[in-house]
Amino acid sequence: MPLPRPTATTPPALTLTGLYQHVAGRTALADLTLTLPAGEWLLICGPNGAGKSLLSRLILGLDRPSAGTIALFGQELERLDSGAMHRLRRRLGAVLQGGSLLADRSVLENLLLPLRETPLRRTELARAARLVVTLLRLDGLEHHDPRALSLGQRRRVELARALIHQPDLLVWDGVADGLDPSALAEILEMLDTVRRNRALTLIATDNTPAALATHCERALVLDHGRAVYAGPTATLREAATDRLELRAALRGWR
Protein backbone atom coordinates (compact mmCIF):
# COMPACT_ATOMS: atom_id res chain seq x y z
CA MET A 1 0.00 0.00 0.00
CA PRO A 2 1.45 3.45 -0.83
CA LEU A 3 2.68 5.38 2.19
CA PRO A 4 1.21 8.84 2.85
CA ARG A 5 3.07 11.80 1.37
CA PRO A 6 4.99 13.95 3.85
CA THR A 7 2.99 16.74 5.46
CA ALA A 8 3.96 20.10 6.86
CA THR A 9 4.43 18.48 10.27
CA THR A 10 6.74 15.75 8.98
CA PRO A 11 10.24 16.38 10.35
CA PRO A 12 12.90 16.98 7.71
CA ALA A 13 14.58 13.85 6.39
CA LEU A 14 17.99 15.42 7.02
CA THR A 15 19.20 18.38 9.04
CA LEU A 16 22.88 19.31 9.18
CA THR A 17 23.87 22.03 11.62
CA GLY A 18 27.38 23.50 11.72
CA LEU A 19 28.92 20.21 10.72
CA TYR A 20 32.71 19.80 10.84
CA GLN A 21 34.84 16.74 10.30
CA HIS A 22 38.57 16.60 10.85
CA VAL A 23 40.55 13.70 9.39
CA ALA A 24 44.22 13.20 10.29
CA GLY A 25 44.61 16.83 11.34
CA ARG A 26 42.95 18.17 8.18
CA THR A 27 39.54 19.82 8.01
CA ALA A 28 37.69 17.54 5.61
CA LEU A 29 34.24 19.09 6.07
CA ALA A 30 33.63 22.60 7.36
CA ASP A 31 30.53 24.37 8.63
CA LEU A 32 27.87 22.51 6.65
CA THR A 33 24.30 23.50 7.42
CA LEU A 34 21.39 22.13 5.43
CA THR A 35 17.78 21.00 5.72
CA LEU A 36 16.28 18.45 3.36
CA PRO A 37 12.50 17.94 3.58
CA ALA A 38 11.24 14.38 3.49
CA GLY A 39 10.47 13.18 -0.02
CA GLU A 40 12.92 15.53 -1.75
CA TRP A 41 16.07 14.50 -3.53
CA LEU A 42 19.46 15.99 -2.79
CA LEU A 43 22.43 15.87 -5.11
CA ILE A 44 25.80 16.22 -3.41
CA CYS A 45 28.48 16.89 -5.98
CA GLY A 46 32.02 18.10 -6.22
CA PRO A 47 35.46 16.98 -7.35
CA ASN A 48 37.36 14.03 -5.88
CA GLY A 49 38.31 14.71 -2.27
CA ALA A 50 35.55 17.29 -1.80
CA GLY A 51 34.10 15.30 1.10
CA LYS A 52 31.07 13.66 -0.55
CA SER A 53 31.70 10.13 0.73
CA LEU A 54 32.73 11.41 4.13
CA LEU A 55 29.45 13.31 4.39
CA SER A 56 27.50 10.22 3.27
CA ARG A 57 29.16 8.17 6.01
CA LEU A 58 28.35 10.80 8.62
CA ILE A 59 24.72 10.93 7.50
CA LEU A 60 24.50 7.15 7.83
CA GLY A 61 26.00 7.26 11.32
CA LEU A 62 29.04 5.22 10.29
CA ASP A 63 31.41 7.96 11.52
CA ARG A 64 30.93 10.62 14.17
CA PRO A 65 31.32 14.30 13.28
CA SER A 66 34.07 16.34 14.94
CA ALA A 67 31.56 19.11 15.62
CA GLY A 68 27.99 19.99 14.74
CA THR A 69 24.90 17.84 14.58
CA ILE A 70 23.14 15.53 12.13
CA ALA A 71 19.47 14.70 12.49
CA LEU A 72 17.53 12.18 10.41
CA PHE A 73 13.75 12.45 10.54
CA GLY A 74 14.09 14.73 13.55
CA GLN A 75 16.33 12.34 15.49
CA GLU A 76 19.77 13.65 16.34
CA LEU A 77 22.25 10.83 15.71
CA GLU A 78 24.57 11.73 18.61
CA ARG A 79 21.72 11.38 21.09
CA LEU A 80 20.56 7.95 19.93
CA ASP A 81 21.45 4.85 21.90
CA SER A 82 22.32 1.70 19.97
CA GLY A 83 18.71 0.43 20.04
CA ALA A 84 17.30 3.68 18.67
CA MET A 85 20.06 3.83 16.06
CA HIS A 86 19.23 0.28 15.09
CA ARG A 87 15.56 1.17 14.61
CA LEU A 88 16.43 4.32 12.67
CA ARG A 89 18.68 2.37 10.33
CA ARG A 90 15.73 0.22 9.37
CA ARG A 91 14.36 3.35 7.68
CA LEU A 92 17.56 3.84 5.70
CA GLY A 93 18.98 2.25 2.60
CA ALA A 94 22.58 2.76 1.55
CA VAL A 95 24.79 2.15 -1.44
CA LEU A 96 28.34 2.83 -0.38
CA GLN A 97 31.33 3.68 -2.51
CA GLY A 98 33.78 0.78 -2.71
CA GLY A 99 31.12 -1.85 -2.13
CA SER A 100 29.74 -3.44 0.99
CA LEU A 101 28.33 -6.81 -0.12
CA LEU A 102 29.14 -9.82 2.04
CA ALA A 103 31.71 -11.70 -0.02
CA ASP A 104 30.92 -15.15 1.37
CA ARG A 105 27.17 -14.96 0.72
CA SER A 106 25.21 -15.30 -2.47
CA VAL A 107 23.52 -12.36 -4.16
CA LEU A 108 20.16 -13.51 -2.78
CA GLU A 109 21.48 -13.79 0.79
CA ASN A 110 22.93 -10.30 0.47
CA LEU A 111 19.62 -8.97 -0.82
CA LEU A 112 17.72 -10.40 2.13
CA LEU A 113 20.05 -8.99 4.80
CA PRO A 114 17.87 -5.96 5.66
CA LEU A 115 14.88 -8.28 6.16
CA ARG A 116 16.80 -10.69 8.35
CA GLU A 117 15.32 -9.49 11.63
CA THR A 118 11.78 -9.06 10.35
CA PRO A 119 9.03 -11.61 11.03
CA LEU A 120 8.34 -12.06 7.30
CA ARG A 121 7.50 -15.54 6.08
CA ARG A 122 9.57 -17.32 3.47
CA THR A 123 7.06 -16.58 0.71
CA GLU A 124 7.03 -12.88 1.60
CA LEU A 125 10.82 -12.77 1.57
CA ALA A 126 10.83 -14.46 -1.82
CA ARG A 127 8.30 -11.95 -3.14
CA ALA A 128 10.35 -8.99 -1.86
CA ALA A 129 13.50 -10.42 -3.41
CA ARG A 130 11.74 -11.12 -6.71
CA LEU A 131 10.52 -7.51 -6.87
CA VAL A 132 13.95 -5.89 -6.49
CA VAL A 133 15.60 -8.51 -8.70
CA THR A 134 13.18 -7.58 -11.46
CA LEU A 135 13.45 -3.84 -10.86
CA LEU A 136 17.23 -3.89 -10.96
CA ARG A 137 17.46 -6.48 -13.78
CA LEU A 138 19.32 -9.04 -11.71
CA ASP A 139 17.46 -12.09 -13.02
CA GLY A 140 19.63 -15.20 -13.06
CA LEU A 141 22.23 -13.73 -10.71
CA GLU A 142 20.49 -14.59 -7.43
CA HIS A 143 22.73 -17.53 -6.58
CA HIS A 144 25.97 -16.04 -7.86
CA ASP A 145 28.92 -15.18 -5.67
CA PRO A 146 29.16 -11.36 -5.55
CA ARG A 147 32.89 -11.64 -6.29
CA ALA A 148 32.03 -13.14 -9.66
CA LEU A 149 29.94 -10.14 -10.73
CA SER A 150 31.04 -7.09 -12.69
CA LEU A 151 31.25 -3.75 -10.88
CA GLY A 152 28.02 -2.59 -12.50
CA GLN A 153 26.21 -5.76 -11.42
CA ARG A 154 27.52 -5.43 -7.88
CA ARG A 155 26.27 -1.84 -7.74
CA ARG A 156 22.85 -3.01 -8.89
CA VAL A 157 22.83 -5.69 -6.18
CA GLU A 158 23.74 -3.07 -3.58
CA LEU A 159 20.98 -0.81 -4.81
CA ALA A 160 18.50 -3.71 -4.75
CA ARG A 161 19.54 -4.51 -1.18
CA ALA A 162 19.15 -0.86 -0.21
CA LEU A 163 15.59 -0.83 -1.58
CA ILE A 164 14.27 -4.25 -0.55
CA HIS A 165 12.94 -3.08 2.82
CA GLN A 166 11.33 0.04 1.30
CA PRO A 167 13.44 2.63 3.13
CA ASP A 168 12.34 6.21 3.73
CA LEU A 169 15.80 7.55 2.94
CA LEU A 170 18.24 6.19 0.38
CA VAL A 171 21.86 7.34 0.51
CA TRP A 172 23.62 6.47 -2.74
CA ASP A 173 27.29 7.34 -2.75
CA GLY A 174 28.86 7.47 -6.20
CA VAL A 175 25.85 7.03 -8.46
CA ALA A 176 27.86 6.77 -11.65
CA ASP A 177 30.35 4.20 -10.32
CA GLY A 178 30.28 1.15 -12.56
CA LEU A 179 27.06 2.12 -14.33
CA ASP A 180 26.92 3.26 -17.93
CA PRO A 181 24.78 6.38 -18.63
CA SER A 182 21.82 4.45 -20.04
CA ALA A 183 21.75 2.01 -17.09
CA LEU A 184 21.96 4.91 -14.66
CA ALA A 185 19.14 6.79 -16.42
CA GLU A 186 17.01 3.65 -16.28
CA ILE A 187 17.63 3.23 -12.55
CA LEU A 188 16.87 6.88 -11.84
CA GLU A 189 13.59 6.55 -13.74
CA MET A 190 12.77 3.51 -11.64
CA LEU A 191 13.54 5.44 -8.43
CA ASP A 192 11.34 8.29 -9.67
CA THR A 193 8.53 5.76 -10.05
CA VAL A 194 9.14 4.55 -6.51
CA ARG A 195 9.02 8.15 -5.31
CA ARG A 196 5.67 8.74 -7.00
CA ASN A 197 4.21 5.90 -4.93
CA ARG A 198 5.81 6.66 -1.59
CA ALA A 199 7.86 9.38 0.08
CA LEU A 200 11.36 8.23 -0.77
CA THR A 201 14.06 10.75 0.08
CA LEU A 202 17.25 10.37 -1.91
CA ILE A 203 20.72 11.67 -1.15
CA ALA A 204 23.01 10.92 -4.07
CA THR A 205 26.62 11.88 -4.69
CA ASP A 206 28.44 12.30 -7.97
CA ASN A 207 31.36 14.26 -9.38
CA THR A 208 29.13 16.37 -11.62
CA PRO A 209 25.41 17.17 -11.67
CA ALA A 210 25.09 15.87 -15.26
CA ALA A 211 23.17 12.67 -14.51
CA LEU A 212 21.16 13.81 -11.52
CA ALA A 213 20.35 17.50 -12.04
CA THR A 214 17.00 16.80 -13.69
CA HIS A 215 15.93 14.40 -10.94
CA CYS A 216 17.01 16.22 -7.77
CA GLU A 217 15.26 19.27 -6.34
CA ARG A 218 18.24 20.33 -4.27
CA ALA A 219 21.97 20.45 -4.71
CA LEU A 220 24.89 20.76 -2.36
CA VAL A 221 28.18 21.46 -4.13
CA LEU A 222 31.29 20.78 -2.08
CA ASP A 223 34.85 21.84 -2.71
CA HIS A 224 37.60 21.00 -0.22
CA GLY A 225 34.93 20.20 2.36
CA ARG A 226 33.16 23.54 2.11
CA ALA A 227 29.74 24.18 0.62
CA VAL A 228 30.11 26.40 -2.41
CA TYR A 229 26.44 26.03 -3.28
CA ALA A 230 23.43 24.82 -1.31
CA GLY A 231 20.05 25.43 -2.86
CA PRO A 232 17.62 24.44 -5.57
CA THR A 233 19.09 22.51 -8.48
CA ALA A 234 17.01 24.68 -10.82
CA THR A 235 19.20 27.71 -10.09
CA LEU A 236 22.52 25.86 -9.97
CA ARG A 237 23.33 26.46 -13.62
CA GLU A 238 22.62 30.18 -13.31
CA ALA A 239 24.68 30.45 -10.14
CA ALA A 240 27.58 28.67 -11.84
CA THR A 241 27.75 31.25 -14.61
CA ASP A 242 28.33 34.01 -12.04
CA ARG A 243 30.64 32.29 -9.58
CA LEU A 244 34.07 31.08 -10.57
CA GLU A 245 34.60 28.82 -7.52
CA LEU A 246 31.29 27.06 -8.19
CA ARG A 247 32.12 26.62 -11.85
CA ALA A 248 35.50 25.17 -10.87
CA ALA A 249 33.86 22.73 -8.44
CA LEU A 250 31.41 21.62 -11.12
CA ARG A 251 34.25 20.92 -13.54
CA GLY A 252 32.82 22.66 -16.57
CA TRP A 253 29.25 21.39 -16.21
CA ARG A 254 26.90 23.66 -18.13
Binding site: D63, R89, R90, L92, L96, S100, A103, D104, L113
Partner: protein
Protein backbone atom coordinates in the same frame (compact mmCIF):
# COMPACT_ATOMS: atom_id res chain seq x y z
CA UNK B 1 27.90 -2.77 19.77
CA UNK B 2 30.11 0.30 19.38
CA UNK B 3 32.73 0.42 16.63
CA UNK B 4 35.45 2.96 17.45
CA UNK B 5 36.61 5.23 14.63
CA UNK B 6 40.07 5.88 16.13
CA UNK B 7 43.03 3.69 17.18
CA UNK B 8 42.68 2.12 20.63
CA UNK B 9 46.12 2.84 22.04
CA UNK B 10 47.54 3.72 25.45
CA UNK B 11 45.94 3.04 28.82
CA UNK B 12 42.60 4.54 27.72
CA UNK B 13 42.66 2.32 24.63
CA UNK B 14 43.35 -0.75 26.79
CA UNK B 15 40.44 0.14 29.04
CA UNK B 16 38.22 0.65 26.01
CA UNK B 17 39.30 -2.73 24.63
CA UNK B 18 38.34 -4.38 27.91
CA UNK B 19 34.98 -2.63 27.82
CA UNK B 20 34.42 -3.59 24.18
CA UNK B 21 35.29 -7.21 24.96
CA UNK B 22 32.83 -7.29 27.86
CA UNK B 23 30.13 -5.67 25.71
CA UNK B 24 30.76 -8.06 22.84
CA UNK B 25 30.53 -11.05 25.18
CA UNK B 26 27.36 -9.69 26.81
CA UNK B 27 25.78 -9.02 23.38
CA UNK B 28 26.71 -12.51 22.29
CA UNK B 29 25.28 -14.23 25.38
CA UNK B 30 22.09 -12.15 25.02
CA UNK B 31 21.84 -13.27 21.41
CA UNK B 32 22.18 -16.93 22.51
CA UNK B 33 19.32 -16.42 24.96
CA UNK B 34 17.21 -14.89 22.18
CA UNK B 35 18.08 -17.81 19.90
CA UNK B 36 17.05 -20.26 22.64
CA UNK B 37 13.81 -18.31 23.07
CA UNK B 38 13.12 -18.50 19.34
CA UNK B 39 13.43 -14.72 18.90
CA UNK B 40 16.60 -14.73 16.83
CA UNK B 41 18.38 -17.10 14.50
CA UNK B 42 21.91 -18.43 14.55
CA UNK B 43 23.68 -17.73 11.27
CA UNK B 44 24.17 -21.33 10.13
CA UNK B 45 26.67 -20.73 7.28
CA UNK B 46 28.92 -18.75 9.64
CA UNK B 47 28.48 -21.41 12.35
CA UNK B 48 29.41 -24.18 9.90
CA UNK B 49 32.53 -22.25 8.89
CA UNK B 50 33.46 -21.69 12.53
CA UNK B 51 32.95 -25.38 13.34
CA UNK B 52 35.26 -26.27 10.48
CA UNK B 53 37.89 -23.78 11.62
CA UNK B 54 37.81 -24.65 15.30
CA UNK B 55 36.96 -28.32 14.84
CA UNK B 56 37.83 -30.35 11.80
CA UNK B 57 40.93 -28.37 10.86
CA UNK B 58 42.34 -28.69 14.40
CA UNK B 59 41.42 -32.35 14.97
CA UNK B 60 44.31 -34.02 13.07
CA UNK B 61 46.93 -31.83 14.74
CA UNK B 62 45.36 -32.27 18.15
CA UNK B 63 45.11 -36.06 17.73
CA UNK B 64 48.74 -36.24 16.65
CA UNK B 65 49.83 -34.15 19.63
CA UNK B 66 47.71 -36.28 21.97
CA UNK B 67 49.29 -39.49 20.68
CA UNK B 68 52.79 -38.00 20.94
CA UNK B 69 52.05 -36.79 24.46
CA UNK B 70 50.71 -40.21 25.41
CA UNK B 71 53.84 -41.91 24.04
CA UNK B 72 56.16 -39.48 25.83
CA UNK B 73 54.36 -40.01 29.11
CA UNK B 74 54.31 -43.76 28.57
CA UNK B 75 58.03 -43.86 27.86
CA UNK B 76 58.86 -41.63 30.84
CA UNK B 77 56.58 -43.75 33.01
CA UNK B 78 58.37 -46.87 31.83
CA UNK B 79 61.79 -45.41 32.66
CA UNK B 80 60.68 -44.18 36.07
CA UNK B 81 58.90 -47.41 36.89
CA UNK B 82 62.12 -49.27 36.08
CA UNK B 83 64.15 -46.99 38.37
CA UNK B 84 61.80 -46.53 41.34
CA UNK B 85 59.33 -48.72 43.11
CA UNK B 86 56.55 -46.16 43.36
CA UNK B 87 54.26 -46.89 40.39
CA UNK B 88 51.03 -45.60 41.95
CA UNK B 89 52.41 -42.25 43.12
CA UNK B 90 54.19 -41.76 39.83
CA UNK B 91 51.12 -42.49 37.72
CA UNK B 92 48.93 -40.29 39.85
CA UNK B 93 51.26 -37.32 39.49
CA UNK B 94 51.67 -37.89 35.76
CA UNK B 95 47.95 -38.14 35.17
CA UNK B 96 47.31 -35.14 37.33
CA UNK B 97 49.70 -33.09 35.24
CA UNK B 98 48.14 -34.27 31.97
CA UNK B 99 44.52 -33.97 32.95
CA UNK B 100 44.62 -30.69 34.78
CA UNK B 101 47.38 -28.70 33.17
CA UNK B 102 48.86 -29.79 29.90
CA UNK B 103 45.84 -30.90 27.91
CA UNK B 104 43.45 -27.99 28.61
CA UNK B 105 46.21 -25.47 27.89
CA UNK B 106 47.13 -27.34 24.73
CA UNK B 107 43.53 -27.37 23.52
CA UNK B 108 43.11 -23.72 24.42
CA UNK B 109 46.16 -22.69 22.44
CA UNK B 110 45.33 -24.85 19.40
CA UNK B 111 41.69 -23.77 19.24
CA UNK B 112 42.58 -20.12 19.95
CA UNK B 113 45.36 -20.29 17.39
CA UNK B 114 43.00 -21.49 14.70
CA UNK B 115 39.52 -20.20 15.46
CA UNK B 116 40.59 -17.14 17.48
CA UNK B 117 42.97 -15.88 14.83
CA UNK B 118 40.43 -16.67 12.08
CA UNK B 119 37.84 -14.67 14.03
CA UNK B 120 40.18 -11.67 14.44
CA UNK B 121 41.03 -11.78 10.73
CA UNK B 122 37.37 -12.08 9.73
CA UNK B 123 36.34 -9.20 11.98
CA UNK B 124 39.19 -6.98 10.76
CA UNK B 125 38.60 -8.04 7.15
CA UNK B 126 34.96 -6.93 7.37
CA UNK B 127 36.07 -3.35 8.05
CA UNK B 128 38.74 -3.33 5.34
CA UNK B 129 36.42 -4.74 2.66
CA UNK B 130 33.51 -2.45 3.53
CA UNK B 131 31.31 -5.40 4.55
CA UNK B 132 31.15 -4.03 8.11
CA UNK B 133 29.56 -0.82 6.83
CA UNK B 134 27.13 -2.87 4.77
CA UNK B 135 26.00 -4.77 7.86
CA UNK B 136 25.78 -1.67 10.04
CA UNK B 137 23.73 0.36 7.59
CA UNK B 138 21.37 -2.58 7.25
CA UNK B 139 20.81 -2.58 11.00
CA UNK B 140 22.67 -5.86 11.59
CA UNK B 141 25.14 -6.23 14.42
CA UNK B 142 28.25 -7.76 12.79
CA UNK B 143 28.87 -10.02 15.80
CA UNK B 144 26.02 -12.16 14.46
CA UNK B 145 28.36 -13.15 11.64
CA UNK B 146 31.60 -13.16 13.60
CA UNK B 147 31.72 -13.60 17.37
CA UNK B 148 28.37 -15.33 17.94
CA UNK B 149 28.86 -18.35 15.64
CA UNK B 150 32.60 -18.60 16.38
CA UNK B 151 32.26 -18.53 20.17
CA UNK B 152 29.55 -21.18 20.07
CA UNK B 153 31.70 -23.38 17.83
CA UNK B 154 34.74 -22.84 20.07
CA UNK B 155 32.75 -23.74 23.20
CA UNK B 156 31.41 -26.93 21.65
CA UNK B 157 34.66 -28.01 20.04
CA UNK B 158 36.81 -27.18 23.10
CA UNK B 159 34.64 -29.39 25.28
CA UNK B 160 34.63 -32.18 22.72
CA UNK B 161 38.39 -31.87 22.27
CA UNK B 162 38.95 -32.05 26.04
CA UNK B 163 37.19 -35.42 26.15
CA UNK B 164 38.87 -36.64 22.96
CA UNK B 165 42.38 -35.59 23.97
CA UNK B 166 42.12 -37.07 27.47
CA UNK B 167 40.97 -40.35 25.93
CA UNK B 168 43.62 -40.50 23.22
CA UNK B 169 46.47 -39.53 25.54
CA UNK B 170 45.29 -41.89 28.27
CA UNK B 171 44.87 -44.81 25.87
CA UNK B 172 48.24 -44.21 24.26
CA UNK B 173 50.01 -44.00 27.62
CA UNK B 174 48.18 -47.11 28.82
CA UNK B 175 49.06 -49.04 25.67
CA UNK B 176 52.71 -48.11 26.02
CA UNK B 177 52.89 -49.10 29.70
CA UNK B 178 51.01 -52.34 29.01
CA UNK B 179 53.39 -53.24 26.23
CA UNK B 180 56.60 -52.16 27.95
CA UNK B 181 56.16 -52.96 31.63
CA UNK B 182 53.06 -55.18 31.49
CA UNK B 183 50.97 -52.73 33.54
CA UNK B 184 47.50 -54.06 32.80
CA UNK B 185 44.65 -51.72 31.75
CA UNK B 186 42.68 -52.80 34.83
CA UNK B 187 45.56 -51.85 37.10
CA UNK B 188 46.02 -48.54 35.27
CA UNK B 189 42.33 -47.66 35.56
CA UNK B 190 42.35 -48.60 39.22
CA UNK B 191 45.34 -46.33 39.82
CA UNK B 192 43.78 -43.46 37.87
CA UNK B 193 40.50 -43.83 39.73
CA UNK B 194 42.46 -43.72 42.97
CA UNK B 195 44.35 -40.57 42.05
CA UNK B 196 41.78 -38.50 40.18
CA UNK B 197 38.43 -37.47 41.59
CA UNK B 198 35.39 -36.22 39.66
CA UNK B 199 36.28 -32.62 40.59
CA UNK B 200 39.66 -32.98 38.91
CA UNK B 201 38.09 -34.31 35.72
CA UNK B 202 35.42 -31.62 35.71
CA UNK B 203 38.17 -29.03 36.12
CA UNK B 204 40.03 -30.42 33.12
CA UNK B 205 36.83 -30.39 31.05
CA UNK B 206 35.78 -26.89 32.11
CA UNK B 207 39.05 -25.13 31.35
CA UNK B 208 39.06 -25.37 27.51
CA UNK B 209 35.58 -23.79 27.12
CA UNK B 210 36.54 -21.20 29.75
CA UNK B 211 39.59 -20.30 27.67
CA UNK B 212 37.37 -20.10 24.56
CA UNK B 213 34.98 -17.77 26.40
CA UNK B 214 37.85 -15.35 27.03
CA UNK B 215 39.84 -15.74 23.82
CA UNK B 216 36.88 -15.22 21.46
CA UNK B 217 36.01 -11.69 22.73
CA UNK B 218 39.73 -10.86 22.74
CA UNK B 219 39.94 -11.87 19.07
CA UNK B 220 36.78 -9.94 18.24
CA UNK B 221 38.09 -6.76 19.89
CA UNK B 222 41.46 -7.10 18.17
CA UNK B 223 39.60 -7.36 14.86
CA UNK B 224 37.45 -4.33 15.66
CA UNK B 225 40.47 -2.29 16.80
CA UNK B 226 42.31 -3.01 13.55
CA UNK B 227 40.35 -0.25 11.82
CA UNK B 228 40.17 0.07 8.05
CA UNK B 229 43.89 -0.28 7.39
CA UNK B 230 44.65 -3.58 5.56
CA UNK B 231 47.84 -3.89 7.64
CA UNK B 232 45.57 -4.00 10.67
CA UNK B 233 44.48 -7.52 9.70
CA UNK B 234 47.99 -8.91 10.29
CA UNK B 235 48.30 -6.91 13.50
CA UNK B 236 44.98 -8.30 14.73
CA UNK B 237 46.06 -11.89 13.97
CA UNK B 238 49.41 -11.53 15.75
CA UNK B 239 47.91 -9.73 18.74
CA UNK B 240 45.27 -12.44 19.06
CA UNK B 241 47.75 -15.32 18.99
CA UNK B 242 50.10 -13.73 21.53
CA UNK B 243 47.28 -12.37 23.66
CA UNK B 244 45.49 -15.72 23.69
CA UNK B 245 48.57 -17.63 24.86
CA UNK B 246 49.23 -15.10 27.63
CA UNK B 247 45.58 -15.02 28.66
CA UNK B 248 45.30 -18.81 28.76
CA UNK B 249 48.40 -19.21 30.93
CA UNK B 250 47.33 -16.43 33.34
CA UNK B 251 43.80 -17.83 33.66
CA UNK B 252 45.20 -21.32 34.17
CA UNK B 253 47.42 -20.01 36.95
CA UNK B 254 44.51 -18.15 38.56
CA UNK B 255 42.37 -21.28 38.32
CA UNK B 256 45.12 -23.28 40.04
CA UNK B 257 45.54 -20.68 42.79
CA UNK B 258 41.88 -19.94 43.41
CA UNK B 259 40.13 -23.24 42.72
CA UNK B 260 42.98 -25.71 43.00
Amino acid sequence: MHYPDRPLTGPAGTLERLGLGALALADCLWLYLRILGGRARLDLPAFATALRQSGLSVLPALTLVSIALGLILGRQGELLLAGFALPDALLISLTYAIALEVIPVLIGILVAGRAGVALAVRQAGLAVSGELDGLLVNGIDPIRFTLAPTLLAMLLMSTAFAVWTLLVTGLTTGAWLWASVALSPARLVETLAHGIGPADLIGALIKPPLFALLVAPLACVNGIAAGRDPRGIARAATATMLGAIGLILVVDLLYLLLIG
